[in-house]
Amino acid sequence: MNTKTHSKLEKILASGNLAVTSECGPPRGTDPEAITKKAELIKDHVDAINITDNQTSVTRLCSLAACIHLKLMGIEPTLQMVVRDRNRIALQSDILGAASFGINNILCLSGDHQQFGDCPQGQNVFDIDSMQLIQTVRLMRDEGKFLGGDEIKQPPQMFVGAAANPFADPFEIRVPRLAKKIAAGVEFIQSQCIYNLDKFELWMKQARDRGLINKVYIMAGVTPFKSAGMAKYMKNRVPGMDVPDEVVKRLSGVPKERQPDEGINICVESIQRLKECEGVRGFHIMAIEWEEKVPEIVERSGLYPRPELDK
Amino acid sequence: MRLHYPSNIKIVKIPCTGKVDLIHLLRAMEKGADGVYVVGCLEGACQFISGNISARKRVEQAQEILESIGIGGERIQMYNLSSSEAPLFAQVATEMTEKIKEMGPNPIRLAMKKKAA
């Protein structure tokens, strides 16, 4: 496949290599070291790093600024953009801002409802939804136009991604929803973290049957459990998360000090199994507050060193 | 049966407690009554199906309102008995009177007295 942007992530995916990305959450303050230090730990083991956008509606240093910090370090960022907090003017504006710093990847998301965060009394925006944001980025890039119709001087060249959650309800529309996002113009997908591999593989099969895997790069999301407690929490308290009982049992069956190691084991095993799943083009390793484990996960999964591609 | 019950009670006869509306309870208190009690049929035995259930809900609303404005929610009560339970009626009448005596006169009545003076 040909590439349309300068995105390193796009190049690696297009080359047929398995891509590896990870994620960092910005600090609840102004110290950029909170991001740059984490990025330093993982930069040689991933192709691009996502920066979350006020995740769970908790006010943090903005994704755009954090991406700029990464870019200045020579690391490839992926700007996560939720539609909860910004109207179409601000969204387009931030896209231009990101592109002006050479940020090449964007992930278009709805965003958790503000009720979950630190400002439950705040307004929300939802001027356009995540599907329409995908269309917007493509319009700006490929037609060089603003939503209002005017020409953009030097259009942004961004590689457009979105999230997919095969584990949310209703399951029957999760593949039609993927098809819809592809029709809207999405180019890569990062899935919600996978613990129920059977269900994920079923979703992938349905995607294959619809002929979708040649139209989009699907990256499988994984998150290592730090403890059985974390597994139980995510099973019971996080919407759209599917953690099978066997996984919780496996972790609970191990003494507390060994649970983190077991969590990493499960994660690596998942990656190894999903490598065989046709249509999976890479892995998105989300180890929030445990970024130091990413190198180990990447190495043990046989994904190190990362391919060096000529620019 | 000629049983005794306190003489300070004024009885208002109605075909069903379902006919008692919230405003009736409040007006009684507004005019200076020290307490109101609603006596209805046993739950499940209402001749008009659920009149006594509606009455109970309104009694609860009245209790909440009176409590919130400092008059005392306990001044309004609902009792359920069958019309053949005369001794129970007398007992309830006595119980209610004791309760009101304990609570003291309706502050509204005192305020009205003061105003007239």
């Binding site: 909860r84 179409r88 709805s110 965003g111 958790d112 409802h113 009720q115 979950f116 929300n124 939802f126 001027d127 356009i128 939804d129 995540s130 599907m131 329409q132 269309q135 917007t136 939503l147 999230a163 997919a164 959650n165 949310a168 309800d169 209703p170 029957e172 529309i173 039609p176 098809a179 819809k180 029709a183 809207a184 919600q192 919407p239 759209g240 | 509306d21 919230l22 405003i23 409040l26 007006r27 208190m29 507004e30 309102i65 009176l66 919130s68 404005i69 400092g70 008059i71 502050p107 509204i108 305020a111 009205m112 003061k114 105003k115």
Partner: protein, 222 residues
């Protein structure tokens, strides 16, 4: 209809405590149906306020009247001859009625007695829920008669989001996921193909965002 809720008595009492002659006006329409501001509620509020103030040693007059509506000139005119007798009005109509009363009677302070909430339905006695936000461009034909703008917490036009769990919204187990409802209904209607159409970006200029709205029918104006 417009659904409203009674304001707490302490709040209302605080608003009018300095006045001596008050008129409470009810409305015979929406607020009667949702049991917040009809004739019965006017009577209850009047009685409660009288007792409240009497208990504090304050002597005041509170009168009651319930108008057919408070959003039409004809009905509000009915109090023109008496309103000057009062220092203040507590209107139990929805926010619309309170404002129209204030617009008509410039010399009398008007206070709201209810909190106006939304446009909705009576699901059952005592339960009312939201159905419409007045976006000005109804698209119910595309979503099997279920509105994603009023019933989806994120007003997604191409939902559901990844937080939909067992047919419920991520923000509350008591809230149906609007998009689950839409999908179920489309399925029942045999129109799942509609789901795959991308609903385009909405024109919000006919909604609150575009500024206070007006509908004018030149063909009907005299």
């Amino acid at each position: 209809m417009i659904v409203a809720e009674k304001k707490p008595i302490e709040e209302i009492a605080e608003e009018v405590k300095e006045f001596n002659k008050i008129l409470i006006t009810g409305c015979n329409e929406c607020v009667t149906v949702c049991e917040a501001g009809g004739k019965k509620e006017v009577a209850v509020l009047a009685s409660t306020l009288r007792m409240y103030f009497m208990n504090q040693g304050k002597d005041l007059t509170i009168d009651e009247i319930t108008l057919e509506r408070q959003c039409d000139h004809e009905y509000l005119e009915e109090i023109r001859n008496v309103i000057d007798q009062y220092d203040a009005v507590i209107s139990l109509a929805c926010g619309v009625g309170v404002q129209f009363t204030a617009e008509k009677y410039l010399r009398t302070p008007v206070f709201p007695g209810v909190n106006t909430c939304f446009m909705g339905v009576s699901e059952e006695r005592g339960v009312w829920s939201e159905r419409c936000q007045g976006c000005g461009q109804c698209m119910l034909g595309k979503t099997a008669g279920i509105c994603p703008i009023s019933r989806c917490a994120k007003r997604l036009l191409n939902g559901p989001c990844g937080g939909s769990t067992q047919g419920k919204c991520e923000i509350s187990k008591d809230l149906d996921c609007a998009w689950q409802l839409i999908i179920d209904r489309l399925d029942e209607l045999g129109r799942m193909g509609d789901y795959e159409e991308i609903i385009p970006i909405k024109d919000w200029s006919t909604e609150r965002a575009g500024g206070p709205r007006k509908v004018v029918r030149e063909d009907v104006k005299i």
